[in-house]
């Protein structure tokens, strides 16, 4: 660790209060941290841990109704919150760069990309000998944007997610700041794009020697860039250690549990249940030649959509009873279309689906009550999967009344039993969705699926909106339910590490077709298609050697 006269950033006993519906609550409680010159500090924690509040405090920005409860924030020895507005404006962008979480929402839609970078230079009076526009092109090129001159003239919505983030990084580094704060820079991106962005950040750190504060909930990607990592929970700083020692000897049991719940591609999760014995496979679900098109059926619904517009191109696979089949693919690969076709929400353009040997009508409303009862679906976004106006009890009661012949007393008992099955306190029955956390809502969705006592449950990316620790507990729950009730899962995800130890069969989708299909173990240990290899390689490995810090400036 290089030593220099004085740390670049010093947080002394910082506390920040946040004014919610019920008065002031403490979001950050007595946090002290330092960032040395040229050092990259990771700040890890789950949503609501206060990590983002700390990052913004460093920029002198109080989001919404919040106030400094105590302590100091020093940048190069100067108290940030003591600065006058003009000093603060001069500091931001000039000395401290900022890379936002969701690039799409953070670039001004009505202004060209080049213009947004150029204004950083113009308003911070950065000397630009070779002229503004060429300097901008240089910056965009430096962050790896293909033909930067053309890109400069485009509007944000005309770039991909990855490119937008690169523009944000270019803006942050335009004035050669001393410190760059990154707020979950890779969260909204695809796995492969995530890897490229992390490599870019590492390379820029090496070249410019800029110090970084990298805020993220993803410990794995943090460990790849930062020399030291600080872990926060509910506003308090638990421990700070260099990344290697943190992973090997975590001090705090919360950190230990956090690390344990990170899905790893190279090692099965600790509390993984014994895999089921492989006995004779009787296929429950058989899909062959399935094609689904995104084009709306023509005007008046008569003309069939053109074949060219298929998102799913004649896919065939089958799922054995009591097993888990995983469908893997990035956004736009057609995995959700397959799920919706099986669930009967969208009519496929071609191909047949058989369940228990019986052909399935295309749309749910044409299917028999028995079929609709045996196949259930759970959705990705917990916010929109439950009707906000209903109580948990009525949400669960609806399928019970539709599929079962129970009187109200029996139904009440069933609701209690279902809540227990998904590890929820029966008292939750009277709550409404907005009184539950994301994880709790997903559990209610699972309970709703179980209410029909199904044979097949389609899980359409049900984990991606949840915190890492919450994901792990949901996987455990699904495994236990599979063993207790012999359930079959069609599990759709984009995260190989999660699926690696959970699914028996796996299918890797790319642009609507399988580029890999077969038993998980053999497929992932010896992948045949280059795309799968690329996916495997993109999964961040914990404890990999961090990028060596640059020599002192």
């Amino acid at each position: 660790m290089t030593t220099s006269a004085r740390p670049l950033v010093e947080l002394k006993n910082l506390s920040v209060d946040y004014h919610g519906d019920r008065g002031w609550s403490r979001a950050v409680d007595d946090v002290s941290l330092e960032i040395a010159n040229g050092e990259a500090l990771g700040l890890a924690g789950e949503s609501g841990s206060g990590k983002t509040t700390v990052a913004y405090a460093l920029m002198g920005e109080r989001r919404g109704a919040s106030r400094i409860g105590g302590g100091q924030v020093l940048f190069k020895g100067r108290e940030i919150f003591g600065l006058s507005p003009s000093e603060l404006t001069a500091l931001r962008g000039r000395s401290i760069g900022f890379v936002p979480q969701n690039p799409m929402a953070s670039l001004t839609p009505s202004m060209k990309v080049g213009g947004q970078v150029a204004e950083m230079l113009r308003f911070h009076q950065v000397a630009v000998p070779q002229g503004m526009s060429s300097r901008v092109v240089e910056l965009l090129d430096a962050v790896g944007i293909p033909n930067p001159a053309a890109a400069a003239q485009r509007y944000p919505h005309e770039l991909s997610g990855g490119q937008q983030q690169r523009v944000a990084i270019a803006m942050a580094l335009a004035c050669r700041p001393d410190l760059v704060i990154l707020d979950e820079p890779t969260t909204g991106l695809d796995v492969t794009t995530q890897k490229l962005i992390l490599e870019l950040l590492a390379q820029l750190k090496r070249e410019t020697g800029v110090s970084m504060l990298y805020v993220s909930h993803d410990l794995a990607s943090l460990s790849q860039i930062c020399e030291r990592v600080a872990v926060m929970q509910k506003g308090r700083l638990l421990e700070v250690a260099d990344s290697r020692t943190l992973f090997e000897k975590p001090q705090h049991d919360y950190t230990r549990r956090l690390i344990a719940s990170i899905p790893r591609i190279d090692a099965p999760p600790a509390d993984r249940l014994e895999p089921l014995p492989v006995n004779a496979r009787t296929p429950l679900l058989e899909v062959d030649g399935l094609s689904v098109s995104y084009a709306r059926s023509g005007f008046f619904g008569f003309r069939a959509p053109p074949p060219g517009s298929d998102t799913v191109k004649s896919v065939s696979f089958n799922v054995g009873r009591g097993e888990t089949f995983a469908l893997i693919g990035e956004s736009g690969s057609g995995k959700s279309s397959i799920a919706r076709a099986v669930a009967g929400l969208t009519a496929p353009r071609a191909g047949t689906i058989r369940f228990n040997g019986e052909p399935l009508p295309a749309l749910a409303r044409h299917r028999s009550l028995a079929l609709r009862q045996k196949i259930q679906i759970i959705f990705q976004n917990p916010d929109s999967s439950l009707n906000p106006r209903k109580t948990v009890r009525s949400i669960l009661a609806r399928p019970l009344r539709m599929f079962g012949k129970l009187d109200s007393a029996e139904r009440e008992a069933r609701v209690i039993e279902l809540l227990k099955a998904v590890r929820l306190d029966p008292a939750y029955a009277d709550r409404r969705p907005h009184q539950l956390s994301g994880g709790e809502r997903q559990r209610v969705a699972i309970a709703r699926a179980l209410a029909a006592d199904p044979e097949l449950i389609i899980c359409d990316e049900i984990l991606s909106a949840l915190d890492v620790s919450v994901q792990a507990s949901i996987i455990r729950l699904l495994e236990t339910l599979q063993r207790e009730r012999g359930l079959t899962y069609l599990f759709i995800s984009h995260d190989l590490a999660v699926v690696r130890w959970f699914a028996r069969e796996i299918g890797v989708l790319r642009q609507g077709a399988f580029c890999e299909l077969g038993d998980t173990e053999t497929t992932l240990s010896a992948p045949s298609s280059p795309y799968t290899i690329q996916l495997l390689d993109a999964v961040p490995r914990i404890g990999a050697a961090p990028v060596p810090p640059a020599s002192s400036p």
């Binding site: 920029m59 920005e61 989001r63 404006t89 001069a90 500091l91 931001r92 962008g93 000039r94 900022f98 936002p100 969701n102 929402a105 953070s106 670039l107 001004t108 839609p109 009505s110 202004m111 204004e119 950083m120 308003f123 911070h124 509007y155 919505h157 944000a168 803006m171």
Partner: protein, 312 residues
């Protein structure tokens, strides 16, 4: 973009046709006919028959409608039954007046509503916001004719600063014309901008709390830069739509303001034509009003698209 304009024009023609049919059918329901209305008290059976013949009111409703439609396609709006003059020539003076009044009202309305919208948004929660919001709320709730009557009794009669009636026939110079239409213009602007200010405020507040405005501030840009180049362009969308609706109301709905100030516009002419059941004039004015509504909406949509590259 041009595809949008083409489809919208197609739609416009369809709407105009449909509107003409609806209005014609409504007018047919009116009791009595133009001949009775013109002769009024001095109508005698023979003079009624004579006039009906002259105005060919004896044809069936269907025939008269298609006659009118055929002549419309050849650009002839027909002859006013009452004024016995070609409709276009008869109403073009009135259209010019309403366009004049609407034009002035618009010139005042746009800057005022945007400026007040910005002020209330920036100083939201502070005194300026409350003060302006209360005034805006009061104007929003007062019907135009009450505002008009109050303005006349205060500024025209008691203080005698401005003439009470918009008798623009008397204006000899442009300055005098301005004085004459001052009160009706203020009435329209007051009635219209109330709603626009609230809409502008709401959309600007929403934009000021967006992530890209936060990002612009964190980039260390001066406040005026953030407001004018990052916030305002994206907040104008809803305000433009409201302005389009207001303009449409203004053209059709100023009947009340025109009758309070004796302003010779198409609103009052429409009311008179309805009472005289002067079908060609009613239809012509309805076409103008609906055409203006569709035009303002098209312009507004085009502006919104220009402002927001995402929609381009």
């Amino acid at each position: 973009m041009s595809k949008l304009v083409l489809t919208r024009l197609g739609m416009a023609l369809l709407s105009l046709l449909a509107v003409s049919a609806i209005i014609f059918w409504c007018v047919e329901l009116l009791p009595g006919d133009a001949a009775e209305r013109i002769l009024g008290r001095n109508a005698t059976p023979e003079s009624l028959a004579l006039l009906r013949e002259k105005l060919n009111l004896n044809l069936s409703a269907g025939e008269r409608y298609f006659d009118w439609l055929r002549s419309l396609l050849s650009g002839d709006f027909g002859v006013s039954l009452v004024a016995d003059r070609p409709v276009l020539d008869y109403i073009s003076g009135r259209i010019a007046n309403t366009a004049l009044l609407s034009g002035f009202a618009l010139l005042l309305y746009i800057p005022i509503s945007i400026a007040l919208g910005i002020i209330t948004a920036i100083y939201r929660g502070k005194f300026a916001d409350h003060a302006i919001s209360v005034i805006v709320l009061i104007f929003m709730c007062l019907p135009e004719f009450v505002i008009g009557i109050l303005l006349i009794s205060i500024f025209a009669i008691k203080l005698a600063w401005l003439p009470p009636l918009a008798l623009i026939g008397q204006a000899n110079s442009f300055g005098e014309l301005l004085r004459l239409i001052a009160l009706p213009t203020i009435t329209i602007v007051a009635a219209m901008s109330a709603y626009a200010v609230r809409m502008m405020r709401e959309s600007l507040i929403e934009v000021l709390e967006s992530s890209y405005v936060l990002m612009a501030r964190l980039k260390g840009l001066p406040t005026w830069r953030v407001l004018l180049f990052h916030a305002l362009p994206n907040a104008l969308g809803p305000a433009i739509n409201i302005t389009a609706l207001n303009v449409a109301w203004m053209i059709g709905g100023v009947v009340v303001v025109e009758s309070v100030f004796e302003f010779p516009g198409i609103g009052r002419l429409m009311v008179d034509s309805i009472s005289h059941k002067d079908v060609p004039v009613i239809l012509a004015i309805s076409m103008v009003m609906t055409g203006a509504y569709i035009a303002t909406n098209l312009i507004a949509d085009v502006l919104v698209i220009l402002l927001n590259p995402k929609l381009r």
